[in-house]
Amino acid sequence: MVAAAATLDRRTAVAALLRDRGDLLVVSGLGSPSYDVHAVGDSNANFYLWGAMGGAALVGLGLAQARPDRRVLVITGDGEQLMGLGGLATIAVARPKNLVVAVLDNGRFGETGMQESHTARGIDLAQVAAACGLAAQVVTDLDGVEQARAALLAPAEGPRFLLLKVGPDKPPRSLPPRDAVYLKNRFRAHLGLPLP
């Protein structure tokens, strides 16, 4: 379980992944991934989590099941996903064809002082996801991100997992709105759903 070299800049990687995103629905996990997604450009089709640690991929699952006609991309971090490892088993059993979970793996708990996470100490999240039965892929360069982006658009047999190895840098924060009711309502309005 030798970690792949971290060669990606997280902001560049997320921007590449979200380029020409079309009708993609995006859920972002607590911390830097929410900033990264917001930095690309705010969208009514983004739901940013500011808490619920361990839940990002599962919010994505619920959404993917509710909207099988749309593609759902979860972008989260290694620390956030580590708190919800069991969720990968739940997603694998549910087998949504329209869900991709992308983990930005810097091997750090970035919000709390950049302490090393388990992925910096030998745990390979892509292998965990693969063992659960997700189609898992490790991405270490921009070509790989571009291929992954193209694959987002292609039909899939089941849930997919992308591990993007990013550096432990901390780009300036790009803060999305923190009002979850606002984020929820505008997301639902984007899908044509009524306000309460």
Binding site: F47, L58, V59, L61, Q65
Partner: protein
Amino acid sequence: MQDGLSAKAQAGATSDAWPEELYRLLKAAQVRQVSYVPDAGHARLIELVEADTDITANVLTTEEEGIAIAAGAWLGGVRSALLLQSSGVGNCINMLALAAIGRFPLLLLVTMRGEWGEFNPWQVPMGRATEPALAAIGVRTLRAETPADLLETVAGALPLVFDSEQQVAVLIAQRLIGAKKW
């Protein structure tokens, strides 16, 4: 969807048919996704939702997953419910912040343990903590002591959850379910 209060439901409520009646209530309220961690008290309802091709059923590794899944479902316009036992409420607490601060509709159907006829002392602490823990995080608790009471409680909870976007836990008394056969 309040037809759970019908004569038929009342009749059903006097027997062991309450899981079927509960299932019909959820169906009538257009609940299309049900997540669960198995519990003996929910065994029949789990069978019914697993067998229903119009309901997406998710088996969870831990109950908190269901809080996140339900929020995602609501983002996509689908009504979801979570089946769990009282011990699982303890696993949910931090994730419940998502439902509370996002005002996400949330229906928890909680089978109680550790409060009546309980043979396993390890169930007692979380059974005792279930109601205060939910109240502390902002989830309303409605307690049902009999099958008829349960169906009326759920019938009342459904609009509160999905029309008023509230977070409600229906606590199904252990006395209603019966002590676990051992």
